[in-house]
């Protein structure tokens, strides 16, 4: 667990350092996946399916807020539908307009969920997004999750009814509109999963907010279980065919994702939980305090206490005899320093010697000059200089 927490700390550090670039990369990848998914499923207009167009749109979306990715994705869908049928285009445009007017206009920050939901359906893990959104966000995320489900089933319906519309000759716009609206908006499967998403988000959010131990884990497991149970019961009641095996795998993946999110966003130690009770003038307080778990990534620092460049390197061959000599010298010097009285005496003696030496030196200088002067005067008196000449 410590290793995971340390990794979390490192990831947080990296994200804090490069968040600007990481966010842009995620946005770009999300846009590429979204546009690729749309082109792959309903790529009826060949000009728009060109990879250069996909990449260009993705680059544009990278530098704009996420809501623009949603708007461009909607525009791309409308472009493909336009090449298919004008009647279908009207119905699709009306559905997207409704989504924008009643929700996305008011909460553009949650638009990312609308994008992620169809991608999750394609990856056969639709339970992941409502559970993750309820764990990280709030109960409001039920709306974008439901809208994402509607968007996915709309694209799915366009794909299904494309063949029928292409083969029909002389199709009227009004009949196209009526038939497509009926097929897409009265889909039992779509409404079933809209309800399942809403129930799942509200339940997971409700449990996650409870003051119980391991609330996040409990909420994740209950959410995944509820997703399967409600969809199965609903499928049986409404006579909708659901592949339970794939849905079960999706639920397992959503549990794993929920646990990972718990480690990342809500890491607490329930074993050190404290229950406090106190009061003021108006209330009694029953407080449950759960400590957070945080392991900061250890930084390896090499601190050199005694750095001497002239000292032997690690790769140097050590001469044992020389070492012994050095240690002996060291010991001797230590012994000399060890006896303080002796040391004082020695120091006193040394200072006396120095004084004597200076005295001697000064006296010898004096005597020398006197001697010189004397010899010169003697020489003069005895006429020695003249004799030499």
């Amino acid at each position: 667990m410590d290793g995971i927490l340390e990794l979390k700390g490192q990831l947080q550090k990296i994200y804090a350092q490069y968040s600007k670039y990481i966010d842009k990369i995620i946005q770009f990848v999300l846009a590429v996946f979204t546009f690729y998914m749309i082109n792959d499923n309903i790529g009826f207009m060949h000009m728009l399916t060109n990879p250069v167009v996909t990449l260009g749109l993705s680059v544009v979306c990278t530098f704009l807020p996420p809501v623009f990715t949603v708007l461009l994705a909607a525009a791309l869908v409308l472009g493909h539908v336009y090449s298919l049928s004008l009647g279908m285009l009207v119905v699709t445009a009306l559905v997207f307009l409704l989504m924008f007017i009643f929700y996305l206009r008011l909460a553009p920050k949650t638009s990312i969920v609308v994008l992620l939901m169809p991608l999750a359906y394609l990856l056969k893990i639709p339970a992941v997004i409502p559970i993750a959104a309820a764990l990280i966000g709030s109960a409001v995320y039920a709306v974008p999750a439901a809208l994402g489900t509607i968007a996915y089933y709309l694209i799915h319906q366009i794909k299904d009814s494309a063949a029928a519309i292409q083969t029909a000759e002389g199709g009227n716009i009004l009949t196209d509109m009526i038939s497509f609206a009926k097929q897409s908006l009265t889909s039992k499967e779509m409404w079933l999963f809209v309800i399942v998403d809403i129930i799942c988000v509200l339940t997971v959010y409700g449990i996650r907010r409870c003051a119980i131990a391991h609330a996040w884990k409990f909420a994740t497991v209950v959410g995944a279980g509820l997703y399967i149970v409600v969809s199965a019961v609903g499928g049986a009641v409404l006579d909708v065919k659901i592949s339970y095996g794939v849905w079960a795998i999706g639920a397992v993946v959503s549990i794993v994702v929920g646990f990972v999110l718990e480690i990342l966003f809500f890491c607490v130690d329930y074993s050190r939980c404290e229950s406090l009770q106190y009061e003021d003038d108006e209330y009694y307080y029953y407080v449950k305090a759960v400590p957070k778990v945080g392991v900061t990534a250890s930084e390896k620092m090499v601190k050199r206490i005694n750095r001497r460049e002239d000292i032997m390197n690690e790769s140097e061959i050590i001469d044992s005899d020389e070492l012994r000599k050095r240690s002996k010298k060291k010991q001797e010097s230590q012994n000399s320093h060890s006896n303080p009285v002796k040391k004082n005496n020695l120091a006193y003696a040394a200072s006396e010697k120095n004084q004597n030496r200076t005295k001697k030196k000064s006296s010898s200088d004096k005597t020398n000059t006197e001697h010189l002067l004397l010899t010169r005067s003697l020489r003069k008196d005895l006429n020695l200089d003249e004799k030499r000449k």
């Binding site: 009306l94 409704l98 009526i178 609206a181 009926k182």
Partner: protein, 131 residues
């Protein structure tokens, strides 16, 4: 000499100006009532368009049934239902919009007040430096 206090203050202010400050300063140019009312008007327009779209889609889905039962009483009942539904949706959205935008204005004003406080502190520091 670099004044640490001044640098901290200026960094905080610059960060605010570049992020939330842009919108907050625009919002705080309005009174709270005016700001909420303007958005309520926008919402009513948008909801009217949206409600029209919704009715159109429902109309497409129930086209056959509507054609079958084209008696006067049914049309009247449907018409009243549509109008009542419209008013219910408009009122609900207007109330929600008023609440949301009033709170938004309140929060923005608080942040702008804090920003103004920082600004006066910075001015005082400059005045001290001049002396």
């Amino acid at each position: 000499m670099i004044d640490e206090k001044k640098v901290k203050l200026m960094t905080r202010m610059a960060s605010y100006e570049n992020n939330e400050g842009r919108e907050d300063l625009k919002i705080s140019a309005y009174y709270r009532k005016d700001y909420a009312s303007i958005h309520m008007v926008y919402t009513i327009i948008w909801v009217t368009i949206g409600y029209g779209c919704l009715m159109l889609l429902i109309g497409f889905c129930l086209f056959d049934k509507l054609m079958e039962s084209s008696s006067m009483s049914t049309v009247m009942t449907l018409g009243i239902g549509v109008v009542v539904g419209y008013f219910v949706v408009v009122i609900a959205y207007s109330v929600a919009t008023h609440t949301v935008y009033s709170k938004k204005h309140q929060i923005a004003r608080m942040r702008v007040k804090k920003y103004n406080h920082d600004l006066t502190r910075l001015l005082k520091i400059y005045e001290k430096e001049k002396r």
